[in-house]
Amino acid sequence: MIAFWLLAVILIASAVWTISANKPVYSVVALLLNFATLAVLYVTLSAEFLAVIQIIVYSGAILVLFVFVIALLGSGVAPFPTGPNRLPKIWLPAGVFTLAAFGFLIYAVSNVKMAAAAATGAVGSAGVFGSVADFGKALFTVDLLPFEVTALVLMVAVIGVITLGGEQMSDAEAQQSKVRADRAVREAILREGKG
């Protein structure tokens, strides 16, 4: 009980930090905290395998991907320069309305009395609910089709990323790109030296 409240506070705080951080790098750090906390929460909910997945896939793969992109674009060094806010003026009342609606939703669900009684049964040990064995058995027998579809989704994603990012550069372009990158580095060094 106490653990839940502690984890809940950390979750919300880290989420707020994620969306309010100035630099994307800080967001990544906050998100890492968020995901790790979630993993702990999953363990308390007897989802052992998913807790591990949460750490490996989210923290280990997706967030590292974010860090790579931040490094590639250099936006980890300095915040993006902000141009004029081009969101239509209507956003303020719409946002207020949305805020009110969601606030109401949260208020409503927190007060709702869940009619369904919790099922009782053995939890946490090998071969029963939540264990890796239980999960794996379901995944390769009853829910085999969703598992295969998952593979398909990943393959499509890979193809998509290759299509988007794998533009063939000609030799001259590659050369120019290299020259440009070098120049950017030199200029950065010069600027630092000047400062």
Partner: protein, 645 residues
């Protein structure tokens, strides 16, 4: 419902062949024209000639009679129940087929010489063949719908041929005028067909005529008047005649074939064909006979005031068709048809003779700039002379017999005033035809254009004209002499004899005999001839012809030079109001009302578009906001709905 079909139903391949040969000629000349060159003319005239020979071979089929009907009927196809299409060859259509293909052959052959050197040589023969086909469709159809098809097609062919020289604005205007007026007639025929189908449930001649006795007098009168509107437009009857003189803008062979011998007599054919309908409506006969007589008189009067050789002939055609319409309108069908028959020969001959003159004078058509041509063109002079004698009704010539029949027929059927009109018109006819002859051929040559006579290929033009002289002089006497006992009466007896006896029983015998009428006509014709001689052929008149003609032109009454104001009246009654309506719709209604309404709709659509476009900002976050806002709306709805519970 059993169908009544005119003619003996059977298979007549020759009939189909004679119908389709000119079409083949038209298609070949049209498709292969540039390759054929002058061969196109030989091909077209050959096919029309072959068609004529087939028509002769069909004589027996066309005159056979069995089971109370006469002629041959070749069913072609059935469109829908009650609408069977077929070809009908009976004495009436046989006669027309002879004229269309026979006289048509001579004229098409003549055209080979007349159109020599024209850049659109093959196109001309394609049109001519097409016209012959259309005309055959008209006269051979055994139902009203097929007749209307031919009716429209001859109008189209006429349009093509009048406007053949489409680089002349006058020709184009004349073609358009002819087409528009003909369409007025087409609408009349179409309306008649609607009434017929609505009442008879068939468009076949047989069904319609069998039902003629059972239809109400109002229905019959409506059908007859509507048909007559078509006949009047096609046959240039008052007041729809104004296109015919203008149609002379076409090449002269066209005038001879279409606007003298064949197409303009389609109205006569229509009335003769629908004789059972007219017999059932005395009022319709009265209207048609009166208009025919009026047209004969007006055409003759206008013919005295013209200077263009082809226009004189055009008005004379109008006048002669007036005779024919008067004949068939009063019930003297054989007389009206006889007038058509002889007229086809002598008018074609006159036109082709005029064509010789025009061709020799390099397209000069004003008779004031002719004169003295009999010495230079003796052949043309003799041709024209025989034609003039025939049309004037000089005893012994063809025209005398047929005209006599018409004039006496009017009397016989109880219309003495039409008889009077016919006699007066005969005198005027003699006057203006001899005027034409004298001014053109006597005296001294008054023109500037050199006269080209002869040359290679002149025989192509001379031979058909010479052939035409024979029937135009003699055929009337050969066929018509003898009144009711003549070969002519015998030929048409199966079609019209019963009606003639009926009419004779109803109408008291006229007080004067046919011979007496003939004598009066001859005297009137002689008076017309003498006046023409006095004015144009005496030695004094020939000497100062130039001054006399100029004075005549200057002192001509305005009512004649303005052609009795028919064009002006049509202009004021129909054209101007239509134009005003058009301007109203074009300048006021369309821009204000139609465009205005469209403009309003456009504004609404544009406003909606602007509204929707404002959501399409292209901003990702705006889309996300809209998405979430939508979700929030759902939440709000269920919250309100839940609260309402």
């Amino acid at each position: 419902m059993t169908h009544q079909v005119l003619g003996v139903v059977g298979s007549y391949p020759l009939l189909v062949a004679l119908w389709l040969l000119p079409l083949a000629g038209a298609v070949i000349c049209w498709a292969l024209g540039p390759q054929l060159r002058t061969l196109a003319g030989w091909l077209a005239s050959g096919l029309v000639g072959a068609s004529f020979i087939l028509a002769v071979l069909c004589w027996h089929d066309g005159t056979q009679s069995a089971a109370g009907t006469v002629g041959a009927n070749q069913p072609l196809f059935s469109w829908m129940t009650g609408f069977d299409f077929g070809l009908l060859l009976d004495p009436l259509s046989l006669l027309w087929t002879f004229i269309i293909t026979g006289v048509g052959f001579l004229i098409v052959f003549y055209s080979i010489g007349y159109m020599r050197g024209d850049p659109a040589f093959a196109r001309f023969f394609a049109y001519m063949s097409f016209f012959v086909f259309a005309m055959l469709t008209l006269v051979l159809s055994d139902n009203f719908v097929g007749l209307l098809v031919g009716w429209g097609l001859v109008g189209l062919a006429s349009y093509f041929l009048i406007g053949f020289w489409f680089d002349r604005p006058a020709a184009v205007a004349a073609a358009r005028k002819a087409f528009v007026i003909n369409v007025v007639g087409d609408v009349g025929v179409m309306f008649a067909i609607f009434v017929i189908i609505a009442n008879v449930h068939s468009s076949g001649f047989g069904d319609t005529f069998a039902a003629a006795g059972t239809l109400g007098p109002g229905v019959i009168l409506t059908i007859c008047i509507a048909l007559f509107i078509g006949a009047a437009a096609k046959s240039a009857q008052v007041p729809l005649h104004t296109w015919l003189p203008d149609a002379m803008e076409g090449p002269t062979p066209v005038s001879a074939l279409i606007h003298a011998a064949t197409m303009v007599t389609a109205g006569v054919y229509l009335i003769a064909r629908c004789a059972p309908l007219w017999n059932a409506s005395h009022e319709a006969q009265l209207v048609v006979g009166t208009i025919g007589g009026l047209t004969a008189l007006l055409g003759a009067i206008l013919g005295t005031a013209q200077w263009d050789i082809k226009r004189i002939l055009a008005y004379s055609t109008m006048s002669q068709i007036g005779y024919m319409i008067m004949g068939v309108g009063t019930g003297a069908y054989e007389a009206g048809i006889a007038q058509f028959f002889t007229h086809a020969f002598f008018k074609a001959q006159l036109f082709l003779g005029a064509g010789l003159v025009i061709h020799a004078l390099s397209d000069e058509q004003d008779i004031r700039r002719m004169g003295g041509l009999w010495k230079k063109m003796p052949f043309a002079f003799w041709v024209m002379l025989t034609g003039v004698l025939s049309i004037s009704g000089v005893p012994g010539f063809s025209g005398f017999f047929s005209k006599d029949e018409v004039i006496y027929g009017a009397l016989q059927h109880g219309h003495p005033w039409l008889d009077g009109i016919g006699i007066v018109t005969a005198g005027i006819t003699a006057y203006y035809m001899f005027r034409l002859l004298f001014v053109t051929f006597l005296g001294e040559y008054r023109g500037e254009a050199p006269v080209h006579v002869g040359g290679p290929g002149a025989w192509i033009m001379n031979v058909p004209v010479a052939i035409l002289v024979v029937p135009s002089v003699a055929i009337g006497g050969a066929l018509l002499f003898g009144g009711d006992a003549s070969p002519w009466a015998h030929f048409f007896a199966p079609l019209f004899a019963a009606q003639a006896h009926l009419a004779a029983a109803q109408t008291p015998a006229p007080a004067i005999s046919e011979n007496f009428t003939s004598v009066i006509v001859v005297i009137v014709v002689a008076i017309g001839f003498i006046i023409a001689w006095q004015r144009y052929a005496t030695a004094a008149a020939r000497r100062d012809a130039v001054q006399r003609l100029r004075r005549e032109a200057e002192t001509m009454p305005a009512v004649l030079t303005n052609l009795f104001y028919f064009d002006a009246a049509i202009d004021a009654i129909f054209v101007r109001p239509a134009q005003a309506w058009g301007l109203f719709f074009g300048r006021v209604f369309d821009p204000r009302v139609i465009d205005g309404a469209v403009g309003e709709i456009v504004l609404i659509a544009r406003g909606l578009g602007t509204l929707v476009r404002s959501f399409q900002t292209g901003l990702l976050r705006a889309y996300a906001l809209i998405l979430v806002f939508g979700a929030a709306c759902f939440i709000a709805y269920y919250a309100v709905a839940g609260a309402a519970h």
